[in-house]
Assembly symmetry: C2
Homo-oligomer: 401 residues x 2
């Protein structure tokens, strides 16, 4: 059996994702598709709209054969680390290829970009360093450095001003290091940041979340998600609200208010005085939106601020981060029958332990995933009549046969 | 003008407290009565039922002339430190005496007890140390050591098995060191721990809180509090709920869940493995009551556990504690006209700064009081339609003229 891999957040799963999984198998000529999915917190520094189990179930019901969890350490990191963790895990579980969506569905410009940047690595990195020293945000610095070396390009490259292209580039870079084949398919219709529910059956996850939060009416998004996803969202809604930063706000505010500026700098990415701004804003803000209005500045992107707040919320300290490098386990969230067959075939040659029951592991990176899941549920529980406790510890992998 | 001092929590203020303030002035032959009152968190390791401003107002409307705040550092400490901080502040503001309630209203047995313990200090402390090493709780150890030296008593002493006597003893001890006269008046009717609303007009604060939490019906406690207190409680109820540990529970649970055992031991009093029990119980408890059931043991009194949790909740670390020794300021919460006259008389000779506006101070002990107030409000705000933010920073002392 041959497997291809995809890197996903499924926040929530929608028709575009179903198309992606199905096309991935075709273009890669694979029997199964394996998704490495972020757990409780996502790359833009946000909590997932519903928990990892609900999102894994959606995927397994709509064309994905295996869902493994991208550890928190990578799922909330910058593009390079996010991609490197994801691709390592797909490689470790036995994917021969990784398929990502792109504007044109052409892998060549990504490969050329990778070749160009590899060739002019020193100049490129010196430029990034300099631009950040000048107070530029990381994505801006990346882009300016890239513009500088573009003069040496002899073949078409990709526009790294697009967030999705940055991720795609890093997938290709990571795939290159690990000898896994990078492939791309054209993204259909909706753009990542599109907020309207325009197209007949395809909408961005952003637009779907917006509809969920604003109307709380699932019918408005029914056309854009598979029936099984719709059912899973309905089930979630019977006992919980859809989770966003505002849901976490009382807990985040308390966490900030009970710390000195110095204590806040123990968390990953928090430094350079932003800790003072956080405390000042927490003292005077009634909501997460108001808090963000008060702390945003040219120096930091919205995403970077949200990532810092995610780390403060979950308790991800610089000391913890320093312990982690490459992924040390493959956490199985769920399988289909086909997925199970593939795992049976791979089992004996996996380079990392495959974790089905977390109680059996003492891996510190995994322990932090459980901590992130518990503090995610702590927020969800405030709105539940029947709180869910320690869910990750007691839930076995889903089997959708 | 002559002032006498009283040490109070007013959780909430009731008729017994009014009697105490009025009798204190008589027995001390004083013109005014000054209360040093705990702020947001109390000696048993609990949040106050209503905030410090509401409690100060109750007192100023019912016979107390000046209310100053007992800093968090003392208000949540063991009897000795609680008493020493309280008496120092009453001494600093110019009280010639301190009046506390006791069973018999006779100061002699307290003085004899103090004399006895001072005389046999070394043996007494060696016994306490040994008993704690054997796993006894602090109050138990104190009592056993005391039993041991009682054989040398030549005059009547007090029973240190009673919590109120332990506090009284420590008041006398602290007063002795500071040359302030300790006085006592008989406590009327209700005992500290009485839970029923029995007597015609006197009930313990414990019984009143119980009624507030259980019935949420203020009429049931109307007979036991002054009219001004009743009004203040009614006003509080229009915008907030009465605060108890359960109100803080989601925030406490999140705080524990986002920490490693090692990180939890940075908080005052948390050590010896109780940190592991806290994390384990936080993962599986639906309420504060359930959590406490899971962590309680013979080794720790309920109060001691609650104090640890208070320190975790507020962020009171051992590093912070190490910075603090004697009180460094007098924080004014409110005055009557008589109180204001007294302050005018004292102003130039006060040994500590009198703080009316916290914005003007950088005192780290005071900063921590503001932090404690903010995290207290963070819990109260979860139940309010209009949150109150940074109240201590913006509220000037009350003037009840």
């Amino acid at each position: 059996m041959r497997a291809t891999g995809i890197v996903v957040e499924y926040n929530p799963f929608h028709n575009g994702h179903q198309y992606h999984a199905s096309e991935a198998k075709k273009i890669a000529n694979a029997d199964i598709c394996i998704a490495v999915m972020s757990g409780s917190f996502l790359q833009r520094g946000e909590p997932a709209v519903v928990d990892k189990w609900t999102r894994a179930k959606m995927a397994l019901n709509a064309g994905v054969d295996i869902v493994i969890e991208l550890p928190y350490v990578y799922s909330t990191a910058q593009a390079r680390q996010f991609a490197s963790g994801s691709i390592s895990l797909l490689h470790a579980i036995g994917c021969e290829s990784v398929v990502f969506g792109s504007e044109n569905g052409d892998i060549a410009p990504f490969s050329h970009t990778h070749h160009l940047i590899s060739t002019y690595k020193d100049a490129y990195e010196a430029h990034i360093h300099e631009a950040i020293q000048q107070g530029m945000s990381y994505p801006q610095a990346l882009q300016q450095a890239y513009q500088h070396i573009l003069q040496f390009a002899t073949e078409p490259t990709v526009d790294l001003a697009q967030p999705n292209n940055i991720l795609g580039y890093h997938y290709v870079e990571a795939a290159h290091h690990l000898a896994i084949t990078p492939l791309t398919i054209p993204r259909i219709a909706a753009q990542y940041h599109d907020q309207a529910l325009a197209h007949d059956s395809i909408a961005s996850a952003t637009a779907i979340r917006k509809a969920l939060f604003e109307t709380n009416d699932l019918q408005s998004i029914e056309a854009f998600v598979p029936a099984s996803t719709y059912d899973a969202l309905c089930e979630w809604q019977t006992h919980s609200t859809f989770i966003q930063w505002q849901t976490l706000w009382p807990l985040l505010q308390h966490t900030i208010l009970q710390k000195t500026p110095q204590q806040l700098t123990q968390y990953v990415d928090v430094s350079e005085g932003i800790e003072n701004a956080f405390i000042k804003a927490a003292k005077t803000s009634f909501s997460f939106a108001e808090f963000m209005q008060k702390v945003k500045s040219k120096r930091y992107t919205w995403t970077r601020l949200q990532r810092m707040l995610t780390h403060i919320y979950t308790g991800y300290t610089k000391d913890l981060q320093a312990q982690f490098s490459a992924p040390t386990y493959i956490r199985l969230l769920g399988v289909t029958k086909q997925g199970q067959l593939f795992l049976g075939q791979q089992k004996k040659t996996l380079p990392l332990p495959l974790i089905s029951r977390v109680a059996s592991s003492n891996d510190p990176m995994l322990k932090f995933d459980l901590q992130a899941a518990n503090v995610y549920d702590a927020a969800a529980n405030m709105t539940r009549t029947e709180p869910r406790l320690n869910v990750d510890y007691t839930t076995p992998p889903l089997r959708i046969y």
